[in-house]
Symmetry: C2
DNA sequence: GTCTATAAGATGATAGAC
DNA sequence: GTCTATCATCTTATAGAC
């Protein structure tokens, strides 16, 4: 099959997403121009519009893709067992999913206000589903008398805040590797909601 | 004393900072133009340059001012007593200082990558001093056998992450007021580093 | 699918009048 | 101290050739 010269949709498409993610994570959505993204990909600016109708959609697709991956992985994990076991599984899942995706996490967190109202609502809904998965675990554990939290919603937000914060300071090749970090964070999370002995 | 018409340095100066903070918190530094800030203040764009040499300095001054306030308030608080008492004081201090300053917290957190390298280093140094205040408390408590944390630095970052995350979701007029939130967060923090009974 | 060229407007910052 | 006017450059997005 003859291919038209200069036609590389299957290669360029992913490269656009990748370049956009990289640049937006580094400099912020508003600070990155379509020309910069095009230069990183190795095409002219006009060619980008074969892959996205506009700049806003490019951001939305990145964030939606990230949330799709997250919720898909969460569902696939399907934590089983008692509340304490499920909380440990959630904690370790969160860290293992997020730490290797520093750019996606950063963009998904920092660029929410650059989404259009409709796109923002969409992403927020997905994020809410993720939070609810944790709150469900806390509520069951609370009902079973395994946990002792004053408010499951606040505890949910506090734990997710603690875990998400990790992505903002952790760097590969640092003093502690991911396995060690995971153990320390799980210890903190476990105790924070534990029933006093 | 006759004042030149149209001369309002003492009024305009603070208004510029205030307008910039407000707009940058809402839309992001790169997305906000000097013209937008000027319009919010009620002057023309050129007049802003009586108050800042350039846009970058405007951002830096906002962030430096916030960190100055934070470190000043921390020093003034001068937590006394045993490690547990000091940890409680730090936790409540953090929440009481940050919750009423949502815009400043947001900007100081989100716009770090829009600082020049030199300005970034300056702010990071200040942030580090704040983190060290908490780590000092944890280290003392650990040495005294009051706390049981696997790693004081990681625990420091985890607790600050948890507390900072609060600023990202808390809204005035919500289900719980600041006093209730404070109690719940202190309970989580206290237990997370507690020695098992 | 990618290119070049371009439209139509916004940007940070400065100069000089008042 | 603020204004108006301006510079030089950058912006997103589109049109049409190949």
């Amino acid at each position: 099959m003859a291919r038209k010269q200069g036609s590389h949709a299957d290669i360029t498409g992913p490269k656009v997403q990748q370049a956009a993610l990289r640049l937006i994570a580094d400099h912020g959505f508003a600070a990155v121009s379509m020309r910069q993204i095009a230069a990183e990909v190795g095409v002219q600016a006009g060619a980008l519009y074969n892959y996205t109708p506009d700049k806003q959609s490019l951001l939305f697709d990145l964030m939606q893709g990230h949330m799709d991956d997250l919720l898909g992985a969460l569902e696939a994990a399907a934590f089983q067992g008692d509340a304490l076991t499920r909380l440990e599984a959630f904690t370790r899942f969160h860290i293992r999913f997020h730490l290797p995706r520093a750019d996606q996490v950063f963009v998904s967190y920092m660029e929410l206000r650059n989404l259009s109202a409709a796109n923002f609502a969409e992403i927020e809904k997905m994020r809410h589903r993720y939070e609810d998965a944790l709150e469900d675990i806390l509520r069951v554990g609370q009902a079973e008398g395994v946990f002792a939290v004053a408010d499951t919603r606040v505890a949910t937000m506090a734990i997710i805040g603690m875990l998400t914060g990790l992505s903002h300071w952790y760097r590969d090749g640092g003093r502690l590797d991911m396995i060690e970090i995971e153990a320390i964070y799980w210890d903190l999370v476990r105790k924070s909601v534990a029933k006093p002995a």
